[in-house]
Structure formats: C-alpha cells, structure tokens
Point group: D3
Chain length 336, copies 6
C-alpha cells in the first residue's frame, strides 16, 4: 500500500509525479501582439511555480473555463527548471477531493505553516497558564477563552503580512510573547518588591496570552492566506479582543478591578493611537506586555527580511515592512 | 407660609439673608509672616464667592475642623462687594439637610446647568427617534438604551471641560447633533439616490443619538463637577459606548450588519486616532455623524471663549481650549 | 431631417455608426520585438475605448502624423467588444468642426458632467443668495462676483481629482455647501441667541457661496479635463479667492469689518495649514463653512470610491483619495 | 539755555533729577493681609524701574485714579538701588506734553530702538534697489512701495517678540536680508550661467526688500510695543504683503509673469505651511529669499538669547524662542 | 569612643542633635511688606527640610554672607514639625571638613542613592560579562571600558531626571538591562537557530552593558545632583558612548565588523531620531537592546510616578515624565 | 601619432568609430513569446545608449557569458539614431586595459563629472582656508584633513542622488558652501561686534569646509556611481565626519573648546533629527553653516529638476527630490 504522494516542493528538476497543489494565482493577460493567455501559479507550502498557459496550449480552454483560484488540484506533471524560471508540464489535472486525503492530501499542506506543531504550542500555552498564574479564577478565565477558540487558534497566522504570517503563526507569536512576559514579570516583581499596588505577575502573563485574541475575529483563514473580516476592518482586533474577554468573563468570578486592568492591557498593548491603541499603557503590567509583543513582532519582521530579501551586498533593500535597510554583513553578502 | 429662600446669586451688595450654597473650595494657606489661614469658596449655579478665613476670625476653628469641600450648607450671611472682591460675612452656617428641601434646597441649584430643561430635551430626543427612524427594531434598540440610562443622562455634562460642561450639557449636545444628523441624512439621501448600498438615514440618526453614550460610564457627576471614572480613563467612552450598544442589542432584533455599522459609527466618530478613534469613518453615515458632532463641540467651545475670555480688545487670548485667538470685532472690544 | 448622431456610449456591440468623440490619449509604444505602434483612446462622457493602432494598419500613418490628443473627431466606426476589451474598427475619421454642431456635436458631450444642469444650479445659487441674505449690500457683492464669473462657473469642476471632478461639479459642490450653511446658520443662530457678537447668518451663507471662488483662477478647463494654472500652483485658490472678493468689493459698500470676516472665512476654510489655510477659523461663521465644505467634499469622495472601486468583497481597496477602505456590505460584495 | 534733560537710564544711584519716562506697567495687587497696592514700572529705552506704590504712600490716590499705562510722564525723582531692586522716590510727576519736546522729550526715547538710524537704513535700502535692480520698472515698483510706507517703516519692529523686536528693527532685518540676497543672487547666477529660465537677480533682491512688507498691516506700533491688528491676526502678513504688492503694481508696468514670481516669493518665504506659507518655494529665487530671511531671523534670536539669558554656566537655559540651550563657553560662564 | 552621628532623616520631632547636612537650596526673597529674607533647605538622602531665615533672626547675616548652596555643614539643631511644615532650630553651624569623616561624614550620605550597593552591582556586571560573553576579545574590550570608568560609574545616576536619577542609578539601570539582554539573546538565538548571520548573543549582552556608557561624559555628578556637561549638551551621550568604544577598541583585537555592529547598537539604541538616535536598529541585536533599555527606563518612570504622585484617588495626575495618568486602583486611592 | 579616440557622445548619427565606453546596465529579459534577450547600455559622461541584444544576434553568447556591468570596453561600432531610439551596431568589442590610456582611455571619462576641474577646486579650497583662517592651528588641522583625503575628495560626488551626484560634486558643493560661509561670517561679525562670545569667523569657515567630510567614509565611488558603505549606512556621515576631525585633531594643537564647537557644527549641520542631526545648532556659527549648506543643496536640486524634468508646460512634475512642482514659466514651456 502506497504512502502519501510526494510534495511539489520535493520534486527534482525533470521529475514527473502525481502531487497535490493549490492554484494560488490565475491572471488573464494579453501578449503585445494581442493574443490572450493566462499566467497561473501552483504551490505547496514551500514552493510556488508560476508560468504562462498560452492560448494555443493543451490546457488553454480548461484553464479559462474551469480552473479556479483558491482551489486544490491533483496534478500529474513534470517539474522543469528552465531559463525562464521553473515550469510545470501538466499531463493530468483535476480537483482534489475528500477521497484524496487517503493519499496524503491536506489543504494545510499547501500553505506556509509554523516550524512548530500548533497543538504542541497550544498545549505549552495552556501549561504556562496553569503553572504560572496564581489567581485560579483568572487562570480559569484565560483557559476558558483559549478553549473556546481552540480550533481557530491552531490555524491562525499572527498577521496578514508583516510578521508570523503563516498557519500557526499566531500561537508561535503568543507563546513567545507570553514566555517573555513570565520573565519580565518575575524579574521586575523582584526588583520592585515594595511597589504599591504590587506588580501583578498574573496580569502580565494573562495579558501576554490574550493581547491579540481579537485576531480570531479580525482575520479569517482562507486557502490562499488570511483575510480581514468586515468587523475586523471596521472595529479592529484590539476592541474585539476586549469583547471576547468581557463576554467570557461573565462566566467566571474574576475581581472587577483585575478585569479592568486586563481589559486595559489589551486596549493599550500597541501603545500609540496611530498604531491602534486608543489608550497608552497606564499600569506597569501593560508596559511589559507592550514591549514583549513589540519586540517579538519587529524581530520576526527583521528575520523575514534577512531571509527573503534578494538584493546583493552586505545590506538589504529598505523596501520592506520595517522601512529600513538591514545589515547582513560581508559574510552573507552574495555577489553577482 | 414662606416661599423658597433667595439664591446667593440674587443677593444685592450688603444684603443679609439665609440661603443655600455649596462649599466648592477649601484651601489651607500660610501668610508670608507664617500665619495659617484658609481660602474658601461658596457658590450657587451663577455666582461664586471666594474669600479668606483668617486664623483669628470667628469661624477659623470650625472651618478647619468641620467644613468639607463638596458639602452643601445653609448660611445666614451678608454679601459684600469690597475692593478686594466679593465677600461673605457669615452669621450662621450649618450643613443643609433633607428637611431644607421644603425651603427650596436642591443640590442641582448649586451647579451650572443647561439653559434647557433636561426632561424636555430627553423627550425631544425620544420623539426624534420615534418620528424619524423607519426601522422599528433599530428605534426600539435606541430607545431602550436611552431609557436604561434615563436618570444619568438628565444630569450628565457633555465633557469635563471644553464643551457643554454643565448639567444637562450632554442632552443639549446630543440633541443638537441628532438634529443636524436628520438634516444631513435627508439631504444627502436625496442627492445620492442611486448609491449602493443606499445611504441609511436611520443609521445616521441613531449614530447621532448614541455617539457619546459611553460618557455615562466614562464620567461621574459630583456636586463639584464631573470626574473621569477609572474605567473611563483606562478604556474610554468610545469603547464603552460600543459596549452599551452591544449589551443592549442582545435584547433586540436588529440585523447583524446594521449593528456592525452602528458600532463603527460610534468607534469612528472622532475620526483621528490621536483624538481617540481607533478607526476612521469607512461608511458615509459615519462621516456625517463625525461632522455633526465635531462642529457642535467646536462651536460650543468658541461660544464659551467669546463669553468667558476677559482680555480686552477685538481679539481674545489664544490660551483656550481651541488654542487660537477668537475675533470679537471692534463693537465687542471693551477697553480700559 | 436627421436628428443628432448617436453617442459613442450608446452604441451596441458590432454596431457601426457615425459619431463624435474626443481623442483623449495617444501614446507611442514599441512591441517587444521592436515594432512601433500607438495606443489611442476615444471617448465621450460615459465610455472610453482604448486600443492599439499597429504599425501595419490602415490608420498607422495618419495616426502618427495628424491625430492630436485633445482634439474632437467625427468617426464612422464599428464598436466591438472583444476578448481583449472594447475596440473601434475605424472606417472614416476627420476633425469635428463648427458645422458639425448642427449634427449635435458639442465638446461638452465628451467629458463627464454633473447630473444637474449647470444653469439651473447657478440660478438656484443666485436665488438662495437673494432670498436668504438680509444685508443687501453683501448680497449685491456676492451676486456681482457670481455674475462676473458666470460663464466660467458653468463649466468648472470642483477639483482636478478627488471630488466633483466633472463639468458643473463646482456648482454642484457650492450649491450643496451653501444649503448646509443656510441650515447651520439658522439653527445655531437660534441656539445661541445672546452671543456677542451675534452669529451673522449672512456671512455663513456668503462664505458658503464664495469659499472656493478662487478656483476660477486656480484651474483651467480643457477638453481633456481641468489643469492647474501657473498662478493656481504658485499662489493657490485660497488666496486667489480672497483676491476676487477684494477686487469686486471695491465696487460695493459692504462694511469693512464684515468684509474682513468674509475674507477670513475664505482664508480659513480648509482649517489646517497643511491643507492650505494659513489661518484656522477664528469666528464661528468660519467654523460652519469649514464643516459644511469638508463634509460635502469627503462624502463625494466616499461616494466615488463606492461607485468606482472594482475590487471584490464587502470592502473596497484602501488605494483611493481617502486612503482608507470603504465598507460596502455583503449585499454589494460582488464575488468572482 | 539748558540742554535736554538727563535720561532715566543715565541716573546714578541716589541721583535726583527731572526726566521723562513711560509708565509701562500698572497692576492692581493685594498684600496677603488684604491691603490693596499697585505695582508700577517706568522706563526709557534702556532701563525699566518696577516698584510698589503702597496704599498709604503719597502717590497712592493719584496712581489709582489718574496714572495710565502707556502714558509718558515728566518726573522729578531720586533713583535708588535698594536690596529690593531699583526704586524711584517720586517728588513730582505730571503728564509729558508737546512743550516738553523743547527739553528733549520724544516718545521714541522710551522704547528700545535699533542701533542704527532708521532714516539711514531706509536710504541704504533705497540705494540698494536703485543700484542693483536692472529692470527699472521693477525698481520703480519696489521703490513705490517703500515710499508709500515710508513713515511706518521707520518705526516698525520686525516682530512682536522673537527677533528684531525694537523700533527700526524691521529696517534692520530687511536691509540685512536684502544684502544677503544680493550676495546669493550674484553668486549663484555666476555658478549656473546656463540655467533656463536664467536666475533673475532682480527678483531675489526685490523679494528680499518686500518679503515682510505685509507687517505694516499686520502690526501696529504703540508706545508700549507692537500689537497685532485684527486683520493681521485673521489674514496674516504673508497675504497682506502680497496685497500691497498687487495694489501698487497696478500703477507700474512690470511684466505679468515677473509679478507672479514676486508674489510667489512673498507667499512662500516661510517655506512651511505650519510657519505660515501656503506654498513652498517653487522657483530658485524664492529659495534664496527664504534662506536669507530664515538665517537672519534665527541668528538674531540666538544673539538675543546670548545677550539676555541670565542663567549661570557655559550654557543658557532652553526656555527661549529657539527652544534649545545655547552655548556660551567657559569664558562667558559667570558663576555665583 | 562614639560612633557616627545620627542622620537628619533619623531625627524624631523635637529631638536636638549634631548631624551633617547639605545646603541644597538658598533663595533670596522679599515679604509683601518689603522685608528681605532667605528660604533655605538642608537635606540628607532621605529628608529635606526647607524653612525661612527671617531678616531679624540669629542666623540672618551669616546666612546671607557665608552659607553656600551645595556646601556640606555640621549642624547642631532641633528638628521641629510645625503646622507650617518641618523646621530646624539651629544652635550651631559650620562647614563640614575632612576631619568630620571620623564622625561618619560622607558627602554621598546627603544625596539619594540606589537601594543596592554600587560596588556589588559593578561586580555583578563584570561577572555577567565574564560568564556570558563567548568572544573573549570582546569581553576584554567591554571589561576594559568598565574598568577605565570604574570610579565614575559607581556614582553616576542614569539620567538627570526621569529615571534612575540617583547615585548608583546608572549601574542599577545597566545591570537590569543587561540581564534582560541575556534572557532575550538566549531565547531568540534558540528560536531562530538558522538565521543568517546567526544571532550574536555576545553583541546583545555587550550592547546592554555599553548602550549608555556615553553618560560618563554627558553628565557630571555634583553634590546637588547631576548636571549636563557642555560636550554632553552639544554632542550627546549616544555619540560620546561610541567614542569611548572606539577609543578603547584600539587596544583590543575585536573583529572590525563586530565592532561596527556594536557601535551601531549604541548609535541606534533610542530607535527614533527625535529621541536622539541618528539611525534606527538595522540588526536584530540592536532591536533587543533597544527594547530592554526602553522598557527598563519607562517602567522606572512609572514606578516613580506611583511612588511620588501626591494627588488623591485611584489615578495619578498626568503631569509627569510619561505625560499620562497612571492607575493605582481603589486600594491605593488615599482620600481626604 | 594619433591623438585620443573620439568620445561616444561626440559621434554623429551613422558615424562608425573606435571609442571607449562603460557597460552601465545589463539586464536579462524575455520576450512575450518566451525568447530570452538582454538589454544593455553603454555610456560615457554625456550620452547613454540603451538597446537590446537579441538571442539570435552576433553578440548574444558573448554578451551573456562575458560582458560585465561596470566594466569598461573598447568598441568599434556605428552609432545609429533609429525610430526606436539610439543604437550601437557593434563591430568589435573588448575590455579596455591599461595600455588604452595612451589612446585617451580614462575611467573618469565615462561618468558624469563636475563642470569644474576637481584639482582646481581643491586648490581653491586650500587657498580659502589659508587666506581666511586666522587661527593657524585650526587652519593646519583643516588642511591636514583635506590633505589626508586628497585623492578621495577629487572623485567624490556630494550625494548618491539628490544633489551634486557627479564626480567632483563634493568639492563643488563644499567650495560653494565655504564661500557663502566666508560671506556670512564676515557680514554678521560686522553686524554683531559686541557679541559675547564674539562670532568666530574661523569656525564658520572651517565648518563649511568640513561639514560633509564624513562622506569619504559614508560613500564609495564605483564606476557606475556612488554606493553607501556598510558603516555609512549603520553610522552615517555626520558621526563619521566628527570621527575624522577627532582622529586628526590629536596631531594638532587646537584649543579643546574650539574643537568642541567645530565638532558641534558638524553634528548639527542638518539641523533636524529627522534629517540626521542628533543635536540642533546651539552656537551662531553652526546656524550659518547649516543655512549655507541647506541652500546650496536645495538649489542644486531645483536646478537639476529644471534641467532634467521632461514634462511639458510651464510647471514641472512634482515627482522629484523636492516633492514639489517647479515653475519654469511660459518661455520655457515646450509644448507638443
């Protein structure tokens, strides 16, 4: 009994195979001398192959009339690396279906995903809450929110673009932020033992877990990537995250003032009004969550730029999400 | 049987009378040669009298030990206008009490209030909603919110400072904004008859009524003026207004998308992030509510400046809520 | 005797007809294999047809040597809708001339124009001034300015891009703003009866009529759209509008201070220095004109975006004059 | 026959003399124990003496009832330097009058004035225009404007505060700016000999002379300093300067385009909208006038700070018109 | 043999004792009725007593003629807590001198200092560098810089105002930042194991140690607090810190590119040009140092506000270094 | 014996010649029907010829495999001006070599260069320093810096883009700025003779010479234009210029405070943090250098825009380095 099919990204040049792929782009174009053609792209999580389907080719009509962007296909094709870039010589193509799952088909295989298993990350997050929160009512509330959004969280990217924009990226980001929160809360509670009111470690950690929870309403995963929902665009994840907290909180007995502080952490976590926070941090706990989040997001952007920028030399271009050149150094400066 | 007592603001110079007044200020000071004294202020809605209580005066001890800022008193005193400003020569003084209501005592008599009767304004607002909203579910929702906050709204100022900062000021502002909304919605629905989606007059009007509803949670009326609540400071009336809408909406059957639009109107009604709106207006209805509100608030500020600025000449000072000089003209330029 | 010719925008696919059209674009291009060709566009007010004239086509030489962008032509052509977009198969073509007016030729037929008749709007504006201004000297001044610019105003767009960018758009915008001014001035004069100096309704209305009058010097209508004049670019319509007022005012006996206020309304009507106003509104009347204008312009932009944005889904793109996505709602979200 | 009286600023401690002085301040105050008194200040151009007039002093009643701020007086008084600062022991005091001019009274003697003679500066400016402008029509226009404002210019400060705020300060600033303009225009015309259009030296120089001409309408000299006029506040000197140019230009035959360029230089000379210029420099000549003006004004502010800042040490305070500390160096750091 | 003298801050009301104190303020004032007097303040690290020295008191002349702000004194005085605040009834007073050290005099006793011993903090910092830096050349360079500035660092505050403005505050801040750097560097090196170039933990830690090193040149400790030096004001600690690094680096063999990265970390550590960094972080290591520093400084400010703000109620005033109200909560809201 | 070869920019249409040229661009492209080709550009200082090398042409293989962007070639070719733009019909081509210098080859001949001889400008700058600096130690220091960077300065452009971006452009800009500095320093020293500290003319002039000296480290000249170095990007020329000054100053005996002022001039010469200056000008000398530099740079940009903008009409486009339209006037408005 055969195992799963090979992945598109595993094919060697000139190898012909059956595989599953997502039609991630389909654009109608015209050559300069007036002939219509299509440019299509098929991809799995790690390779995207974009090539033209000329008007006189075998697949011209079928492409025009039936292929749909965002659909998954089973293809038999030869993978070619030509001087015009990679290409697929398609022999057979049909929509993937439920039965294909026995051959290893899974829509998630065609999109970028986190290096870590979402379920493991989710479990780590739950364990962190259980182990580190001393206020058990608060812990129950936080866990209740996680549980309620369990399935969505497993697949959510952290953002549409910019940072952690891959399946599971949300958990990756939140887990990292929460760990930093544990460190910072423990450290500063030690440094300021006499602060009045005392630094509330629980709030910093709960804030780390929940700061972005509104993204489950702001974004919607689709096969071709995350989209903003109408309510996400008109209201925004900061307000929506606070909604979730308030809705679920009615089922738990967290003290009113503690809840207000936690709402404030969510509301202020982006610090500046022009970044979306209507209020700046007004409690030490909110300041810590802001910095833990901001560093994690910006660092991920910088890492992405270092990974993806294709210009030569010791510095990247400045056309990127951070708007500044990043320094690779001489050792990483590939030259022509 | 005697009628109500005269008001402090009605006393003529040298007139002695019994009257009720609020102790609106009490400050502990020291003369240059080291003697302690108090500066106190009594006021009703239209006159405030501020004067020193010297350490060797009749009332020195009682002032120090028992008089409380924010308390209401019944006084017997002579009202004097001296070259050092107005003064009260106090003969008798005691806390006002419930029994004094038969003599006309009413805490509301001691604070600034709107020129219009709050109840009449409230009724006008209700009538406007009943008469102009075509979607009866939406009308019920709006009326439900008004009704739930009825008592608070009657006394709420529109802001702590800046505009409509007087009892009933909230209703004054909201009624004026809503009327402008009716005008604008009717006008532009006529000018753009084919717009898709059609301009929703109901939403503009409901938005006018509800845009500032969060102020019932953001502010708390006190005898000496409005104060921001902790939640008002940490969260803000824009988010709190949307909360009220969402909470009450669960009891009415307004279409989900219409509700989202109405939430967005509240969220975006201050237009700019640095003014508190996390999202800018993204529907025509929100734009109208913003302009109706912004003009009403700024105009009231300008009117206050023209009324209150005490500098001479054809232009006011620029030290005011708008940060700019206002032009009175020559006819209103009182000169030394 | 024949009536006017059909319009380009009225032709059905494959219909051949004589019609008048504007050559709105003519661009010299080269195919990848080095052959020169032209891309031309013909349009009337409601349809633009853009297509290539290949180097080996019948019209190649004539196109290169004689056709001029911005000229009007009489064409005999077949209108085709091909898979490469709409095209014209030209049989005959010559410059339109005066004699063609008897066949219905009118340059104005080839550009976008207001939904309302400019002459009727102009008359409405005049009537508004006559009916609502109490100061007859001021009314005469305002009417004098309108009359002096009568012909230009009938054809002026309100802006080169952004809002009301069509023939008659200026009058459309100004008439709408002035009507709002009448409403606001009447309303607030009633709300603030004791203001000193009293709210001057006449000034608000006159300000509505004249706020953009400088555009008659800032912009110049051309067959292919409005252009900024050198003086419009170097000086700007705000200053030029005040010039017009001051020049014409020498012929009328408006009180000096009233004139100063009216000048100030023009100068401050865009409120912020970065929007072009060197001074912010310093009188209540200026504030009202600013808001009436600002709402009308932004609302028109939003309407245009809703009408013209071609992206799919419940939200438009954010690449538009307002820089924000606009919400259409689900009902208007055309999907692939 | 006696010469002029000595000046207040020339008196030695304990010297008693007759002299003229301006009553530059008169404030009504109350001591902590409730006694009213006045604080008055008398000054000439170089010394101001501020002291109290106690309620029980000889001059108490006369001070309260007849002395007027902004009036000039002839005093007989002893000048004292006490540990409470300088004082005047007044023996006699009366209003100065026309007849006093024979004793050397001149209102201008009591205010700060330029180190240079205004008439000489005016003549230098005229000579500069006559000598350096090649276009005689333009020269006539510029001279016509100077002549028309001759008397006002002699006394005008360059600004109410900030820079050159002394009589004749306007001419001081304008003469300096114009000289820099001559240098820059000559230099850059030499460096860019082939520029199209050629650098117009005349325009740079005329722009230097006229850039601030609107200040004759924006400000009004008074004995106690310059005041902004209503039109200056509502419209501003940039627009008013252009008005003067346009009004006078109707009497001269300067080419229309040259006039437009000169208007633009005035309009853009402060470069940024938030500094008052609705348009940025769009011709090289405007850029030069801006820099010549900006440096001259900022340098004068820095010189004033170095002269007037009374803090100790090698750096001044940062509370000044430039908002930054200025470095004096160790040699000028007076220490306690 | 007696031990050290008691401290001013240890005296009980009405206790008379010998003690050392700093004259931290001496101001010449005048009573309303014209009598000159001085207001002086004596303090040690934890108590400041400010009181008037009247012109007719025992110490009037000596105070005027010999007492100097910033000098240390040995006093014999009774400490009184009067209704006008705390006072000192001075019996004897003379300058403190070297011999007084045997009685426990130490200038450092009179200023605020860190809760931790500077020497212990310095040693911890050194140990951190020795333990965690893998590149021994880099470690030597960092240690060399610390050693060279050893004595200065022990006494340096972290800032003149705002955060850690106490002796030893520099080390407190730097030690805390460096510890966070160790955490972040270790964490993210683990999260991004394949980054090219690899995350350089050493640089993050060295950056934490050195980011503010320029403060040894920017500020100068004085008995009454830190002052900015001229070079600190004209050049700034960011550039001066890089100078120190470059100067000392000539004695060590750190690779050129590593040195450039470390310079960049110092240059960019405040991230924004308006905060003083001419370049934004362009390497991941710089981003981490920025966040570790920024959080530590802002958190300290927030803690100071919570500790020092004297207003009542659950929220502090917004007049503080962060410009926003801080929430204490109800439990810490002391009411009248 | 033959003279030097003709330059590419001197060839007439259809002329065939031997000449030297830089391969300034080589791009790999594909025709719409999938055929690969290259687009190459050859240029000397005044003419660039860009044309395709088709896959079936004589030079296709050699172009693909050996031609390198940034290399200099000796070509024999016919220069053609076709309807597809200028072309080269290449007969022979080989790399230029050292021996070609005898035929006049010089890499500098192929890039844009200043209208003035760099050596003459350098000598002028040296002479200016020698003639105008009174402090001979300072003069020696400045000359020492120039000498040390002599060779680099001769070829340096003033900026990568924006202004003086041509070989020798650095010297052109610096010489012009220094001359203005001499004028301004002399003028204002005369206008403020009593300033304390006195205006230091030497510093203004030395500041003019050295303000941009850091560009020798920030930029690196390459045959195809200037590139930013890693240290230039990570640190910036403002800090690097101060480094050069400090390094060289150790060899000269300039007074410490004077050196600090000169460092400050370099550090502050761009005035605003967002333009790269961490400190604003805090001495009059720095203000003058800033204005001399800023005007020279912006004027050069404006001249470039006037020279290079290819749009028609009296105004240029606003897509340029200054972000604003520049006015040419009617005489320079070339129309279609």
């Amino acid at each position: 009994m055969p195992g799963p099919l090979p992945a598109l990204s595993e094919l060697s040049p000139d190898e012909e195979a059956d595989f599953f792929a997502l039609l991630s782009a389909k654009e109608s174009l015209t050559t300069k001398d007036g002939k219509p053609y299509f440019r299509v792209a098929f991809r799995d999580a790690h390779r995207e192959v974009s090539f033209p389907v000329w008007g006189d080719s075998t697949w011209a009509l079928e492409c025009r009339d039936t292929w749909g962007k965002g659909e998954f296909y089973k293809l038999r094709a030869r993978y070619r690396e030509t001087s015009y870039g990679p290409q697929l010589e398609i022999r057979k193509i049909r929509l993937a279906n439920e039965a294909d799952r026995s051959d290893g088909f899974d829509p998630a295989m065609c999109v970028a995903h986190s290096r870590w298993d979402p379920r493991a990350m989710y479990d780590s997050l739950v364990a962190l809450v259980q182990d580190s929160l001393e206020d058990k009512d608060l812990a129950d509330l936080v866990l209740g929110i996680l549980e309620q959004n369990h399935e969505v969280l497993l697949n959510l990217p952290a953002a549409k673009h910019n940072h952690h924009a891959r399946l599971g990226g949300y958990l990756e980001h939140v887990l990292s932020v929460t760990k930093t929160c544990v460190y910072l809360a423990t450290k500063y509670a030690g440094l300021y033992p006499n602060l009045e009111p005392p630094l509330d470690k629980d709030l910093v950690i709960a804030g780390g877990v929940l700061h972005d929870i509104g993204k489950v309403r702001e974004m919607k995963s689709t096969p071709v990537g995350a989209e903003y929902t109408p309510s996400g665009t008109l209201i925004g994840h900061i307000l929506q995250g606070r909604d979730i907290l308030r809705e679920v909180a009615t089922r738990y007995s967290v003290a009113e003032e503690k809840l207000l502080r936690l709402e404030h952490i969510i509301v202020s976590h982006q610090r500046l009004p022009e970044w979306g926070s209507p209020k700046p941090p007004m409690i030490p706990e909110a300041l810590m969550v802001h910095h833990a989040d901001d560093l994690d997001a910006k660092l991920e952007m910088m890492v992405n730029i270092l990974t993806e920028d294709t210009t030569k030399g010791p510095l990247t271009s400045s056309r990127n999400a951070l708007g500044t050149r990043i320094y690779r150094g001489e050792a990483n400066a590939s030259h022509d």
